[in-house]
Structure formats: C-alpha cells, structure tokens
C-alpha cells in the first residue's frame, strides 16, 4: 500500500505564527501596492477596443503605432503574439473609451481605416474583435462585486446551517484570507482583472471552502466521540487525519491545472495561473489558518455546557502554552 503522510502527528496549530508571518510578508506589500496603483482591468470592465490582427507580411510595430496615432488613435497598446505577423491592438485610453459611448464600433472603424490607408485593406485579416462601451463596463464591475458578496453570504448561511456559526465564520475568514492572498498574487504577476479572472477567483473560493469543509467535517465527527482531549488537540488530530486527502486532492487538481497551463492557450492562461495559486493557498490555509481561527473563536465565544458537543468551555480554553512545553518540537509521536 503506497501511502503518503500517513498517521502524522504534526502540531500544525502551533505553527500558526510562522504561517501568519509568512503570509504577512506576502500580503502586506500588496496591501500597499494595490491601493496605490490599483488593478489593471480588462476592456470588459473599463470599456475600450481590442483587435487581433493577422498580417500577410509581418509589419513593423513602430510603423503600426505611428500610423494609428497619426489617424487619431493615440496611446494604443500594440503587442505581437503567436508570431511576428499576428498583432493585438488595444485601445483603452480614456478618450477612446469616451468615443465608444456613441457606439462600440467607433474605434474599431478608426483603427481599420488607418490600417487600410497605410497597408491596404487586403494586407491583413481581423481574427477577433472586442469592443465594449464604458457603460457596459461599469455595470459589469458592479455585477462582479455583487456576485462575490452573494457567494460569501450563501456559503456562510449554508455552513452555519450544516455545522454551526463558529465553523462557518472560521471557514469564511480563512477563505477571505485566500482571496486577499490571491489578489496579492495577481498584483505581483501583473495579471489584469477580466471576467475570466473573476470566474477563477470564484472557483478558488469554491475550492477553498471545499477544503475547509472536509477538515471541519472531521472536527464535527471527532467532537461527537467523547475523548479526553482538548480542543487544541482535537483540531490538530482532525487536520492530521485529513492530511492525506488534502494533499492528494490538492496535487491532483494541480495536475489538471498544469495541463491547462501548458496546453490551455493564451486565453486560459491567466485563469490557470490564478487557480494554481488559489489551490496552493487554499490547501495551505485549510491546514494553517482555518483551524487556528476556529480555536480562537471557540475561546472568545465558548459553547455553553448544554451545547450540542462534548467540548466544555474549560476544555476549549485549555492553554496551548503548557502543551508546548510538554512537546517542544513538532515531533512525530
């Protein structure tokens, strides 16, 4: 029988300060950067125009840029992708966005007219067009925010119903941590926020919740069997017991994402990056973040004596420092 991480007795909760420190180092710079610089939003959110063009003969990028600004499309971003003959022209300047108030195709037509005049209408073909008016963009931003908030609210309610409010608050707080970390990751990777990326973030939320539910499900089960152990020990035991599954699921999902990263193509790639990071951070936080938060909540708001569980208030308050002295290192028992 091939087994990994079998029958472990790692004192994960004791490591929470290390985990918190590590995440602090990762997140804090982003908390400064994001308010200062903001995110780059894709044209679906801001409005603007993006054209994917394929030229018969690879054009000079500077030439294309000059042609466009001569004809009134200034500041357009011109990138080559795929090969030297394929270009993306992206016009996301505020003046162009404003021009699209009158009709989304305004800037598309400007760009095509300019290229027709310089290179001839038969010298290129349009592979793809994206043009969005500013009003649609701002609506979408609102919708995305609402979607995120509702996703939280619903999961909170479901978990509170299935488990108990302490569990659901701990799961949601841990997931909030995952989202902040994912946003920080996006800032460092300079990924722009698109509808796709919002989808990826929502999926990360789903996955992360998933993971916390599995751990808490074990906590719930262990709480029912009356054992003489503190909540601190019980949480650690639950995390350890579910560890093989946590790692196996994480690595299998990562394998799928790896496939998407390698073969999924340009469109899928930002999505795959965010998912990959999200899975890693979600798995990490199930182990190091969710359980310590639950322990903290249990101490702040202890259960009454007549509660559903066998953990008494005094047990929940068991002092971890004392235990630490008994077990100085995260040793395997």
């Amino acid at each position: 029988m091939l087994r990994i991480l079998h029958d472990t007795h790692i004192d994960f909760i004791r490591l929470w300060k290390w985990a918190a420190g590590l995440m602090g180092v990762f997140i804090v710079p982003a908390l400064v950067l994001i308010p200062l610089l903001g995110f780059n939003y894709s044209i679906e959110f801001t409005g603007g125009t993006a054209l994917r063009l394929k030229f018969k003969q690879a054009p000079n990028l500077a030439d294309v840029r000059a042609t466009l600004s001569e004809r009134g499309v200034s500041g357009a971003e011109i990138l080559s992708f795929g090969g030297p003959d394929e270009l993306i022209v992206r016009a996301q300047q505020s003046e162009q966005i404003a021009a699209q108030e009158a009709g989304a195709t305004t800037v598309v037509n400007q760009i095509r007219a300019a290229l027709d005049a310089r290179f001839g209408p038969d010298s290129y073909e349009v592979l793809g067009t994206d043009a969005v008016s500013p009003r649609i963009g701002s609506e979408l931003r609102g919708q995305a925010t609402i979607a995120l908030l509702i996703a939280f609210a619903l999961t909170l309610i479901y978990l509170a119903w299935r488990f108990e409010w302490r569990f659901s608050v701990a799961a949601v707080l841990a997931t909030v941590h995952d989202i902040i970390a994912t946003l920080a990751f996006m800032k460092y990777m300079n990924l722009e926020i698109s509808v796709f990326v919002v989808g990826a973030i929502l999926t990360v939320i789903g996955y992360s919740m998933n993971d916390k539910v599995v751990v808490f499900d074990r906590v719930r089960e262990n709480l029912k069997s009356a054992k003489k152990e503190s909540l601190y020990e019980l949480l650690n035991r639950s995390v350890n017991e579910t560890l093989p599954r946590t790692v196996m699921t994480g690595s299998t999902t990562l394998a799928c994402l790896l496939a998407l990263l390698i073969f999924g193509g340009e469109v899928i790639r930002p999505f795959a990056w965010i998912m990959t990071f999200g899975i890693v951070i979600g798995t990490f936080s199930s182990i190091y973040v969710a359980a310590p938060i639950l322990l903290w909540i249990e101490r702040k708001f202890p259960r009454g004596e007549g509660g559903k569980t066998h953990i008494s208030a005094s047990q929940a308050r068991a002092e971890p420092k004392a235990e630490r002295k008994e077990r100085p290192s995260p040793a395997l028992r």
């Binding site: 029988m1 091939l2 029958d7 994917r52 009158a102 009709g103 989304a104 195709t105 598309v108 073909e125 349009v126 592979l127 793809g128 067009t129 994206d130 043009a131 969005v132 008016s133 649609i136 919708q143 609402i146 979607a147 509702i150 996703a151 619903l154 999961t155 479901y158 509808v195 796709f196 919002v198 989808g199 929502l202 999926t203 789903g206 996955y207 919740m209 998933n210 539910v213 599995v214 499900d217 074990r218 579910t242 093989p244 599954r245 196996m248 699921t249 299998t252 999902t253 394998a255 799928c256 994402l257 790896l258 496939a259 998407l260 390698i262 073969f263 999924g264 193509g265 469109v267 899928i268």
Partner: protein, 549 residues
C-alpha cells in the same frame, strides 16, 4: 445480490441514456456553403459549440438616444427586438439568438459570422414595412408544372450542365435532401386532411394549397428544399410575372404537423410603413380582438384608392420581406384610420404582436452597438485543439495518480471517472448547453473535484482497515462516513457555480454550467457507481483477506 443487480441495472440505464443523448443524430440546420448559407441535414453529436469555439459574433445593442430622446423606451426595445429577430432570421445564420436583457438592451449571438460590418448593417438598417396584395388569381398553380419540369431537368443533368447556382452545391447533398423529403411526404399526406396536397413533381408535391388564394403550405422539414429551389434562377424566372414569393414569419400547426406558409404577392406594395403613424391592439365588443392603426393624410389617400381597388382581396403585412401573421381580407376602401379584426375569442397577444410589427415599421428605433465581440473561426479551432490537449493531459495525469496510489481501488475509481465524463457530457447535451472554452476549462477542473470524492472515501476506508475492521465493514464505513463531507463540498461548490451562472455573462456562464453538470455527475459517480463496483467485487471475492487500496 439482488441489491447489486438493481444497482447494476440502474447504472446500465444511466450509461445507455447518456450514450443515447450523445449519439450523433440528424438535425436540419443552416450550414455555411460557399458564399451563403443553406439548410442541410447534418449528422452530428448534439453538443453545441459556443461562439468562442466555432467562431462568431456577439453583439449588445442599446437604444441610441444621442440624437433624440426616445419616449417609451420599453416599447422601443420591443419594436427593435421584433425587427432584429426578423432580419437576423433572413441573415441565414445557423442558430441566431436574439434576446432582451434587462430593461434597455438586446443581445445578439451570431455563430459563424465573422464580419463586424455585416452585423453593423443589420443594426443600422431601418425596418421596412409594406402592405402587399396576395395574388388572388392563383397564378402559381399554373406555373407549377413548368417549375417541376425545370427541376426534373436539372436533377437529371445535375453536376454536368447545371446552372452556376446549382453547380456550387455538391450533388450528393441535393439528392440526399430529395430522398429525405420523399420519405417525409409519405406521412404528411397520410396525417393531414386540413390542406389538399397537389400531386406531381419535386416542387408541387411539397406544396399544399392553403385556405386563401395565393397561400401555400409547406411542411417545415421541406422548407429548406423549397428555399433551395426558389433560389435557382430558372425557377425564379418561371414564377408568375409581377409576383414574388414571400415566406411567412412563423410556423403554423395543422393536423398535428408543423407547416410554414408562403404567399405569392404582388411585387408592388400598395403602401409602405413610412405613412403609418400608430397602431394599437384593442378589444371591441362587436369584433373581438382588433388592431387599430392610423395613417397620415397622404398615406390615407393612397390607401383608400388602393384598398378600393382590391376589395375582397387579402393584404399581406410584410416586415423586412417576411409576411407577419395571416393576411387579413380587405372589406372596403380604408382611409386614414383602419382596423384589423383578429376575430372573436382570439388571443390579445396576437393583436399585440401585429401592432408591434406595424409600429416597428412606422417608428424606427435607432440602435447603437454597446458591445461587440467577434472570434474568427481559426481562433476557435486553435481553442478546440488547445482545450482537447489540455483535457487529454489532465485526464491522463489523474488516471496515473489514481492507479499508482490506490492500485485496484484506483482502477475502480477510474471506471467511475469514465462514467462521470460520459454523464457530464450527456447532461450538457440534454440541457442543450453550449460548450465554450471556459466550459472545457470547467470540465477539466471538475475532474479534479470528482476525484476528490474518491480520495475522501478511499482514505476513510484505509483508516477503517487500520482500526482492524474487516474489509466489508471498512468499505461500508468508508462510504457512509465520507458521505457528509462529499455532500457538503459539492453543495458549497454548486452554490458558487450557481452564482457564477446568475451573474456571469457568456463565457463565465459556460464555465458555471460545465461545473454544475460535473458536480452532479461526480456525486453519482463517487457514491453510487464506485460503491456498486466495490460491492460487486466483494460479492465475487467473499473470502478475500486483502483489499488493494
């Protein structure tokens, strides 16, 4: 044993049902052929591809108020919807979708169209309404024999000396269409007594004379064939002079079969929509449901003269070359105010619809494009290729992990995964969901979610075995104890997917749908199929001491 048998039968039924859903079947759809589009019978797996995979265009349209404010925006949008729908129908796109979104927007999806200019034309062209007199002389009846003869000649010589128009079409498809229509004719003649079939050649035997002169019914499955025939130049020349053939905008059901009407009308309209001022549905105590309309003075004069000349004739109301509703009979000379009687007990909705058509032709709605997304067909092919390679690699990795880590039990789980993939696709086909690139991503991702359930169960079985339980008990306990975690994880993910669906637009929705289908299939696969496989194995090996897990 009987419990296992029931489970196996259930699984067999699910697999059979899934294969049936995914089995390639004949559908009639418009396909691109050369320059234009034509109806054709296509045999394909009933999974629709999204715009991003097959190429196509997505448009969001808004009422343009930059030049003048539009008073009744809701009505303006309804009119615009009517116009855009009618027009796109003639555009010849395989499966266009036009819908109203929110209170002030229309969205249009045009698969296979990759020229933004054409789309802009559709939007910016003004709606065109005309009233045309339906041919009372039944001139087409006399031309039928000649049309049949032309078609017979063409069919015999098809591929050699056929006209340019027919030479573009592959001969095989034309004959295929003809034989298919032959079999269709058999049951239409049997089941239908409401209309009299005319006998004879390839054209006339598909056409049945309607209740009013100049009206002809065609079984909907024959419509594509007839459209092809009518596109042939020689056939067009054989039509009665000064007349044209216009298809009805909707289908009617007669004797349990769907028919579409076409009308032979005077090419010259008696009046056009520009003279029309307003049209409203109403209820009259005498005539029942009616549509009242009003013309301006100039239009009124012209309309009185023309209707006076055509008393007892039928007048087709034509919006953008489609006849809307059944043509009403002209009962007397009509001036500036007229009414169309829909008849006692008729649905008010019909009247509302007709009034909408009239208003759409008289009060054009300026539209502007608020969003346009166009994906070229070649980009779509790239995406399919990438999606398939990603999917194949993902599946291979998952199978490898399962087999190496769980051995025989892993093999059972892989069987469960095969079932999962089949049912997921079948669910997508059953709900006529479109498969998009994000959908493929969602599918690949949900494979990861599906194996999670297996991990939960197997790890649990291992734990129980370690506690010294027998194999049978351990397997049962493993499945029972993992149950709550599996349900909770699936529900939380489903909640997120549902929100994605609710708030997302096109691409995100595709992802959410694939994820939801995957979650449903994964539940069944993990807690039912894999468990049954275990039960079957335990049943066959009653004395076994070891489980390969």
């Amino acid at each position: 044993m009987s419990r296992i048998r029931t489970r196996l039968i259930l699984i067999g039924l699910l697999i059979a049902g899934s294969i049936f859903m995914l089995f390639p079947r004949d559908t009639i759809e418009r396909v691109k052929r050369g320059e234009g589009f034509a109806y054709d019978t296509v045999r394909r797996v009933p999974l629709k591809l999204g715009l991003d995979l097959q190429g196509g265009m997505y448009l969001a349209l808004e009422v343009d108020e930059s030049k003048q404010a539009v008073a009744d925006k809701s009505d303006a949008l309804e009119r615009a919807l009517k116009v855009v729908r009618t027009r796109i129908d003639q555009f010849g796109v395989s499966e266009p979708i036009v819908q109203k979104v929110g209170s002030d927007r229309l969205t249009v999806e045009l698969p296979g169209i990759d020229d933004p200019q054409r789309a802009t034309d559709v939007v910016e062209k003004q709606a065109f309404l005309q009233f045309q007199i339906v041919d009372e002389s039944e001139a087409l009846n006399r031309s039928l024999a000649r049309i049949d003869q032309i078609l017979r000649d063409l069919r015999v010589e098809a591929g050699t000396t056929a006209s340019d128009d027919t030479a573009k079409r592959p001969t095989s498809t034309l004959t295929q269409l003809l034989t298919k229509a032959d079999s269709a004719k058999g049951d239409s003649a049997r089941s239908d007594s409401a209309v009299t079939p005319t006998t004879g050649g390839p054209f006339s035997r598909r056409v049945q004379v309607g209740q009013i002169p100049g009206e002809y019914f065609v079984a909907t499955r024959d419509v594509p064939v007839l459209e092809q025939y009518l596109a042939i130049e020689q056939v067009r020349n054989a039509l009665p002079p000064g007349k044209e053939v216009l298809w009805s905008g909707d289908t009617t059901s007669l004797g349990g079969q769907a028919f579409r009407a076409f009308y032979v009308v005077d090419s010259r309209p008696i009046i056009t929509g520009e003279y029309l001022q307003d049209a409203r549905p109403n209820q009259s105590p005498i005539d029942g449901t009616i549509v009242e309309f009003q013309l301006n003075n100039e239009g009124g004069r012209q309309f009185r003269r023309e209707t006076g000349r055509h008393i007892q004739d039928y007048m087709a109301i034509v919006l953008d070359d489609r006849v809307m509703g059944r043509p009403p009979v002209i009962q007397g000379a009509i001036g500036t105010r007229g009414q169309i009687t829909m008849g006692q007990g008729r649905d008010l909705r019909e009247a509302q619809d007709l009034a909408l058509v009239l208003r759409a032709g008289s009060l054009p709605v300026p539209l502007k494009i608020a969003e346009i997304r166009n994906i070229g067909a070649s980009l779509g092919e790239d995406s399919i290729r990438q999606g398939l390679s990603a999917g194949a690699l993902g599946v291979a990795l998952v199978i490898l992990i399962m087999l190496v880590y769980y051995r025989f039990s892993g093999f059972l789980a892989v069987c469960g995964l095969a079932f999962y993939s089949l049912t997921t696709l079948a669910i997508l086909a059953a709900f006529q969901a479109t498969l998009t690139l994000p959908g493929l991503a969602g599918f690949v991702l949900s494979i990861g979610m599906a194996v999670d359930a297996n991990f939960l169960i197997f790890e649990r079985i291992r734990e129980e075995l370690e506690r010294g339980k027998t194999i049978r008990t351990a397997v049962n306990e493993g499945f029972d104890r993992a149950w709550s975690a599996i349900v909770d994880t699936h529900v939380t993910t489903a909640l997120t997917a549902a929100i994605l669906y609710q708030f997302g637009t096109g691409p995100v929705r595709g992802f959410a749908v694939a994820l939801l289908a995957g979650l449903a299939a994964s539940m069944v696969s993990a807690i039912f199929v894999v468990r049954t496989l275990f039960m079957l194995w335990l049943d066959r090996n009653k004395t076994t001491e070891a489980l390969s897990i």
